[in-house]
């Protein structure tokens, strides 16, 4: 037997398939198909949680996603802990382990419940008014206590072993909600051949047909009809049916985010299935069939475990076969709760009484209740519930006052009416309209190509909903371009009565009362709190919401918003629409980060770009650094070497013999066309027209504002062809920048740009022996200084494969950059390496590259410049074509502040103590004795130990730097001031003779 409250032959689950589970360490048995909630209820467990503020004991309010109370921690294993799981949604599997939350030491005895006793102090917004004295106590005492008391579940503490997947999908008609209306709309759309996706958050379809025993469609009971219709839809090629799938966000242009819970309900999901799958659907038309949510009655102590929505009790009975009590009271302001009483009564549960706020309701359900012998009270209110850990009684009073009567019960079913679920409609930026007669917000003005049908549209009754949904589904398909439907509309044979209800506090919880009549259960917001907010001047519903936190809990106010609004409006003496409705924001129900991130975890968080030569460097034991998305060899430590030793060795070897460096990550763009030179003239500060084919030039690119954007060596391969290099990180934005000007400012130029960054692997061979290393492998290129001088480029072959061979240097040594098609990169490198071994060459990484270039005063854009540096600031005025009449940045350069005196200029720095290496980013002052705040005149941009110079070297941006040559400046560090001398930027081989040595 799967619980004492399971009713034989009730419900739709097969009682044979049991599932064991535990809650707070206690073992129970449920049935496959149960939710955790239905399984606990079957075992008579109502107490499952504690509220946020007062730690009041709580049970199940609902049977669905709107649940504010029954949040538990579910733990598959140590790494698969999930907090704040709604027990009403979590499906049972054999072995499920759940814990209650926000209680200590136990759920039944929670120390935090003293907050409930002291609750008069904890009124709405009390924390804004206290904890201010003494000042220091906020951080040391009050806030830590508040934080420890707040929060619900506990965050996971281990990386999640599960994976999540994603799918983009497109369809003609997306139907959200799989109740009678949604299924009907999907059928109508699908019959046209349109591409249809139908999604529902529940494990099985049917919506309210899951509990409405009175519905009959096409000769079947409602639920059976729904299952048959779903089976039909699943069989159609043009339809995708998604269960356990919640549409959580409705974004611009009919883009809808859905999460499919793929394996959380399975006992052993296995490794192949994702835990959840994110669907991102672009639909031509959307049909919203999201139904409505029942509201509770707002009366004193309406939060006691055992008090729940009437429809929830019906689902527990009619679907799960569970009675929520043995002696049940009903408190309602509309018809639908009667059906719950009737169903329970027929199942053998005693109905203690129905208390109906209405004075003279009539109708078949009322007659039927009476006929079954249920006591029915009109014009009366439940003014209070008794009990603590479980409701024990309800106290009834005529609604305008009078004698009280206390009726023993073990459950109370409530219904104040139904709130249309306009969440997704509202997210679509549609405007809701208030229907004063039915007291509900319904879709008003549409902003996107969608349509609402059924209960979410305020349409009452099954027949009307199906009519509306069928027409809407067909029209949506037609509007999406499909043929006209040729199906048959489902025929409603019988349906249940839906009537209105009431909003706001019930009698006994009115303005003169200070009882705890809860509006928002999870956040412990009672009717009096909302009134207090209004009294304190909160006139916008947004203020009321934020001040009281009404509707801000994990259920986002699905049951509480309308009551809160009504109480605020009443207190303000204004009609509801004037007070306004708070904004509905995504997600509809909470969505795991994992589902949103889906594949973008671990190695797929971001591409890891590796060069063709990477495997060689890895095999050599290189240490890599991240530069943008690239992994670059940083240094190549030999046994026993730390970074400094390795870099010192690499630097010396390059200047003594030669070094090989993988420069493949440099951006490369081929500029081709008869106007290539004209284009280059406009995009770079330098002159290009006269650069002869076969020669290279160092180019500077500015933004229009005159600041350095990028730099690189450019080779002219032919009159109409340039091979442009960019910085590694700058490659994509430089390409975009060039395309922008070419396409939109200079479209008259006949020139095209192609990224060739990845076409060519680039091997820099630098050092006095570099030519000796390369020459034996090269065919078709005269390697003599006369034929191939510094800053020239030739095309030929190396190792039998094509090369673009640049004679250039970023070290100040004789140097070459060998470009070969990427797939040959590693083997050409290996060939060069083999030659290099004969000449004492070494492989060097980016760190040595940085040191070597700094020894020569060559700048690195992005390190020695920072987006506020002009060519003049960087000492590169020589690279700006003085006779040019236009280039990007020409005007920006002459703005008043860019030509003002005292700008920061790039200079060299030598520490007075040559052994001291400055810290990059360190600040420079002229007067080290001044008090803080100090006047800073610059900062260190690059700083290294230079083994070749036998001392430290640094580059710095210093105000008026070039006029300070020889001056002593100071770098105040936490442990003392470092004296430095301002110098030129070249620290090694000032004459540049080694370029040709």
């Amino acid at each position: 037997m799967s619980g004492a409250f399971r009713i034989p032959r009730a419900g739709r689950l097969s009682q044979a398939k049991t599932a064991r589970f535990s809650f707070d360490g206690q073992s129970y048995t449920g049935i496959e198909g149960d939710t955790l909630a239905s399984a606990l209820l079957a075992n008579g467990v109502h107490l499952v949680g504690r509220s946020f503020k007062y730690h009041r004991p709580r049970g199940f309010l609902s049977a669905g996603a709107e649940e504010p109370n029954a949040l538990v921690q579910v733990e598959r294993d140590a790494a698969r802990k999930a907090p704040n799981i709604r027990a009403t949604v979590q499906e049972l599997y054999d072995g499920l382990v759940a814990q209650s939350q926000n209680r200590w030491p136990s759920l039944a005895f929670d120390i935090g419940a003293v907050n409930d006793i002291a609750s008069p102090l904890f009124s709405a917004g009390f924390y804004y008014k206290t904890f201010m004295w003494p000042k220091a106590a906020w951080k040391s005492l009050y806030e830590p206590k508040i934080r420890a008391a707040a929060g619900l579940g506990v965050s996971p503490d281990k990386p999640d072993p599960d994976h999540y997947s994603s799918r983009y999908a497109h369809c003609d008609v997306l139907v959200l909600g799989g109740g009678a209306a949604g299924i009907t709309a999907a059928l109508a759309a699908a019959e046209t051949g349109a591409r249809v996706i139908l999604a529902d958050e529940q494990a099985d379809f049917g919506g309210s047909l899951r509990f409405e025993t009175g519905a009959k469609i096409d000769g079947q009971d409602g639920y059976g009809w729904a299952q048959a219709a779903i089976a039909k839809l699943k069989g159609m090629d043009n339809v995708r049916v998604l269960s356990r799938t919640t549409a959580f966000g409705y974004y611009a242009q009919n883009f809808v985010g859905l999460v499919e819970r793929v394996s959380d309900h399975l006992q052993s999901p296995g490794h192949d299935l994702p835990r959840e799958r994110l669907w991102q659907v672009r639909a031509k038309r959307v049909v919203l069939a999201t139904g409505s949510i029942e509201r509770h009655m707002v009366f004193a102590d309406n939060d006691r475990p055992g008090i729940m929505l009437a429809s929830a009790a019906r689902i527990y009975l009619n679907h799960y076969g569970v009675a929520v009590g043995k002696n049940v009271g009903v408190y309602t302001a509309n018809d639908s709760a009667y059906a719950a009483a009737i169903d329970l009564k027929k199942a053998g549960v005693n109905i203690a009484a129905i208390v109906d706020l209405r004075d003279h309701p009539t109708g078949p359900v009322i007659d039927e209740a009476r006929a079954l012998g249920i006591e029915v009270n009109f014009g009366r209110a439940v003014i209070r519930a008794g009990g603590k850990l479980r409701v024990t009684s309800m106290t009834v009073q005529p609604k305008n006052g009078g004698g009280e009567r206390t009726i023993p019960v073990d459950a109370i079913l409530m219904s104040a009416g139904w709130t249309p679920s306009v969440h997704l409609f509202s997210q679509s930026r549609g405007k809701v309209a208030f229907n004063d007669e039915t007291k509900r917000f319904v879709p008003g003005i549409y902003a996107q190509d969608c349509i609402s049908v059924g209960a979410c549209n305020g349409t009452d009754g099954l027949s009307a909903s199906i009519d509306e949904a069928y027409a809407a589904g067909a029209k949506a398909a037609k509007d999406a371009g499909a043929k006209t439907a040729k199906g048959t509309k489902p025929k409603v044979d019988a349906s249940e009565s839906w009537s209105r209800g009431m909003l706001g506090a019930a009698p006994g919880a009115g303005p003169d009362k200070t009882v705890k009549a809860f509006v928002d259960f999870q956040n412990d917001v009672a009717a009096k709190d909302i009134r207090q907010a209004v009294h304190e001047g909160m006139r916008s519903i947004e203020h009321v919401k934020r001040f009281t936190t009404n509707g801000m809990a994990t259920d986002q106010g699905k049951t509480s918003n309308m009551h809160g609004l009504a109480i605020a409006a009443e207190t303000l003496g204004k009609p509801i629409p004037e007070v306004g409705l708070t904004t509905f924001r995504a997600p509809y129900t909470p969505v795991t980060f994992g589902a949103i991130v889906s594949h973008a975890r671990g190695p797929l968080f971001d591409p890891t770009r590796k060069t063709a030569i990477h495997p060689w460097a890895e095999a050599q034991g290189a240490v890599f650094e991240d530069v943008g998305q690239w992994k670059r060899a940083w240094y190549f430590p030999k046994a026993g070497e730390d970074m400094h030793k390795a870099v010192d060795r690499e630097c010396v070897a390059v200047r003594t013999n030669a070094g090989l460096f993988d420069a493949s990550t440099l951006g490369k763009i081929e500029v081709v066309g008869p106007d290539a030179a004209k284009f280059m003239e406009l995009l770079y500060t330098n002159p290009w027209e006269k650069l002869e084919p076969g020669r290279c030039r160092y180019g500077i690119m500015l933004r229009e504002d005159g600041f350095i954007y990028d730099d690189g060596v450019v080779g002219r391969l032919a009159p109409d062809r340039f091979h442009v290099t960019t910085t590694t990180g700058g490659a994509p934005r430089v390409m975009n920048h060039m395309e922008d000007y070419l396409q939109t400012e200079f479209p008259h130029l006949n020139v095209w740009l192609t990224s060739i960054t990845e076409q060519w692997a680039v091997i820099a061979v630098q050092g006095p022996k570099s030519r000796d290393i390369i020459a034996p492998l090269v065919e078709g290129i005269d390697m003599s200084d006369e034929a191939l001088p510094h800053m020239s480029v030739r095309e030929g072959k190396i190792c039998g494969v094509p090369t673009r061979l640049f004679r250039m240097s970023f070290t100040g040594e004789r140097g070459f950059e060998v470009n070969v098609p990427a797939d040959y990169g590693q083997t050409v490198w290996e060939a060069l390496w083999a030659e290099g071994q004969k000449h004492g060459a070494t492989a060097y990484g980016t760190e040595a590259m940085h040191v070597l270039r700094a020894e020569k005063g060559y700048i690195i854009v992005g390190q020695d410049t920072d987006g506020t540096v002009t060519p003049n600031d960087a000492g590169l005025d020589w690279a700006v074509g003085k006779k040019k009449t236009d280039f990007v940045g020409i005007r920006g350069l002459t703005r008043p502040d860019l030509v003002a005196k005292g700008r920061k200029q790039l200079v060299g720095l030598k520490t007075k103590d040559p052994k001291v290496v400055l810290e990059e980013g360190a600040q420079i002052v002229a007067d080290p004795k001044q008090a803080i705040p100090m006047k800073m005149i610059g900062h260190v941009t690059s700083s290294y130990w230079s083994q070749n110079c036998g001392r430290s070297i640094a580059l710095a941006l210093v105000a008026g730097g070039r006029d300070r040559m020889g001056e002593t400046l100071y770098v105040p560090m936490p442990n003392g001031v470092i004296e430095v001398e301002v110098t030129g930027m070249v620290f090694f081989d000032e004459t540049g003779g080694r370029l040709n040595d």
Binding site: A252, Q743, T885
Partner: protein
Amino acid sequence: MLLIRCPYCEEERPELEFRNAGEAHIARSANMAGESDDDFEKFFFIRSNPKGIIYERWRHIHGCARFFNAVRDTVTDKFVMTYKAGEPKPSKLPGAVK
């Protein structure tokens, strides 16, 4: 994620393929070097930033790679139309009321 009609690809494509490139119809002067400081400020920094209809540039960077212009309502984010780079600012918008 917006859905943007590329006038070169002649169909609507997801925003992920596009990059916004700022306000449209701000022409670079043919005599850039001769512009005043004020003119340069207007050209490079001042933007209309309208609440309502904006004329803006997009690049179909992960598609046909073309820059083009779009007319969009910045309140609803709905596109009114798109057109190719170099085409004049439309004097009349389709479906415009008033």
